[in-house]
Amino acid sequence: MKKASRLMVKEARDGYLFASPWIIGFILFYLGPILATLFLSFTEYKIPLTPKWIGLENYYSLFMKDVQFKVSLYNTAYYTIFVVPLSICGSLAMAMLMNKNLRGITVYRTAVYLPAVTSGVAVALLWMWLLNPSMGIINYVLGKLGLPQPLWLQDEKWAKPALIIMQLYYIGGNTMVVFLSGLQGVPQSLYEAAEIDGANWWHKFRHVTIPMISPIILFNLIMAVINSFQVFTQAFVMTQGGPNNSTMFYVYYLYNVAFWWGRLGYAAALAWILFVIVFILTVIQLKLSGRWVYYAG
């Protein structure tokens, strides 16, 4: 008995020891900074100076006076409302298309996954070229089809849709692979049972597939919302927030406030609001999930 408990103490000691890089890392790079951001959001702070406590003034200015803040929030919400449903449905449709035992199917899976290994500045430049109003290939094809040729990134009405379309280029990526593994985990017997009951493909999709993969849909949904609130590189490289602030996204505004104007206290308030927004959206999705997510077993 005594020996067993000594072993447990030793195991716990090693457990803490081995987890310690992350325990320290969590405090140093997550918990500490989150609290520091909250503190800084109540101050005015420009870098060589010391932070000056100003209470809620940053928040007051943001909500009452700052037009750019509202524009950036609107733009980000607009982007999220389109990107999240479109890319989740797109990825799911793609996964179902790729979930066939056909010869050579892996070649097709590889092809649609390819965009996911390319990202960042290089892809932003590529899409600037594809979307170029006069010389870009997209407008060339639209012209051939007799369709209107928008100015895309140079038109404030089309800049956000252009970036949304660009994001759909990734529907064959990681989200699709997660859906695919989920689809492959649905027991075939359920489909067979449904067929015996006379179900058509829509019934099978609606009443077997969707419930069985609903936990995966929830996971992808939550991550998609969080990611779309962080859109930055496209705005920085392709549009610099323009034209006329139409792609001034939240994180790009935060970057400008913090590292262009050097107003770190004000930017901390922006960061904290971002944290609260993402937190609330996640909690809402988890709360609503009780109504539609089905956990087998």
Partner: protein
């Protein structure tokens, strides 16, 4: 006979649809390469030149030398290598502790760890910048590399923990009876079996760091320290840069990711699938 013919037609339609989709998704990458192979006078031609004859391979070289991309490449390689060392070692150790050792508070801390997955990195960016600035580390690689040595982030810990869970605990017990301590079990018994999962972690870390933009943008302002994405972003504003050169430099920047993807596809799929596993 009839039925066979019917399924033949259905399959053909299926292949046509799949091919069409595949072409759409591969096209942008193809267009990047083909633009990079055109002489400047051909870029703006209408109808477009699909495949330049002859291909102008020298544009890749020209673009690469218009800016010190060799230097950026070296910088990116240094950063990514250090990140890989830190992430692979610490995340596998931490994940081992979560998966195999019992300690008070472990499960609740694991839950908290998963919550950090949902934290936008911008929330912590300002205090971290202030601290690194105080420590005189702006314009060094420390802010980009140091965090990797503290567990490698929740995603990697989670992925590796899930994989540890698939290995039988009999292995640990047998080794323990033979007198192995916990570190030996981790290092000598389990780690060799973790290769597929470690490969997945290495690939994801590489891809993430290689294309990372916001964090290097904040910390590096000396051009000689730039990473490839920063160099590429600066290249864009250079006077007299044309699209063929931009696409050439972009493609060369992405090339390592594309090559790794084709070599290590198996590990990609495994890694992503693993994180989708339920408990």
């Amino acid at each position: 006979m009839k039925k066979k013919e019917f399924s033949y037609i259905v399959n053909s339609i299926y292949y046509i649809v799949l091919t069409l989709i595949a072409v759409i998704f591969v096209f942008p990458t193809f267009w990047m390469v083909t633009t990079a192979l055109k002489p400047t006078k051909d870029i703006f031609k209408i109808p477009p030149v699909w495949l330049p004859k002859p291909p102008h391979w020298e544009i890749f070289r020209e673009a690469w030398h218009k800016r010190p991309f060799n230097l950026y490449l070296k910088n990116s390689l240094i950063i990514v290598t250090l990140d890989l060392v830190g992430v692979l070692f610490t995340s596998s150790l931490v994940a081992y502790s979560f998966a195999r050792l019992r300690w008070p508070g472990r499960d609740i801390f694991f839950l908290i760890t998963l919550c950090t997955l949902m934290l936008p990195s911008q929330v912590t960016i300002i205090p971290l910048f202030i601290i690194f600035n105080r420590l005189g580390m702006v314009n060094t690689y420390y802010p980009l590399v140091l965090p990797s040595f503290f567990g490698g982030g929740a995603f990697n810990i989670f992925l590796l923990r899930q994989y540890y869970k698939t290995l039988p605990t009999d292995l640990d017990d047998a080794a323990r009876i033979d007198g192995c301590n916990n570190f030996h079990i981790y290092w000598q018994i389990l780690l060799p079996l973790m290769k597929p999962a470690l490969a997945a972690v290495a690939i994801f870390t590489f891809m993430g760091q290689w294309n990372s933009f916001l964090i290097p943008l904040i910390y590096l302002n000396d051009e000689r320290k730039f990473t490839l994405p920063l160099g590429l972003s600066a290249f864009r504003y250079e006077f007299e840069v044309s699209w063929n050169h931009l696409m050439a430099a972009s493609f060369l920047t992405l090339l390592p990711c594309i090559v790794i993807f084709f070599i290590a596809q198996k590990f990609f799929i495994q890694g992503i699938t693993l994180t989708g596993l339920k408990e």
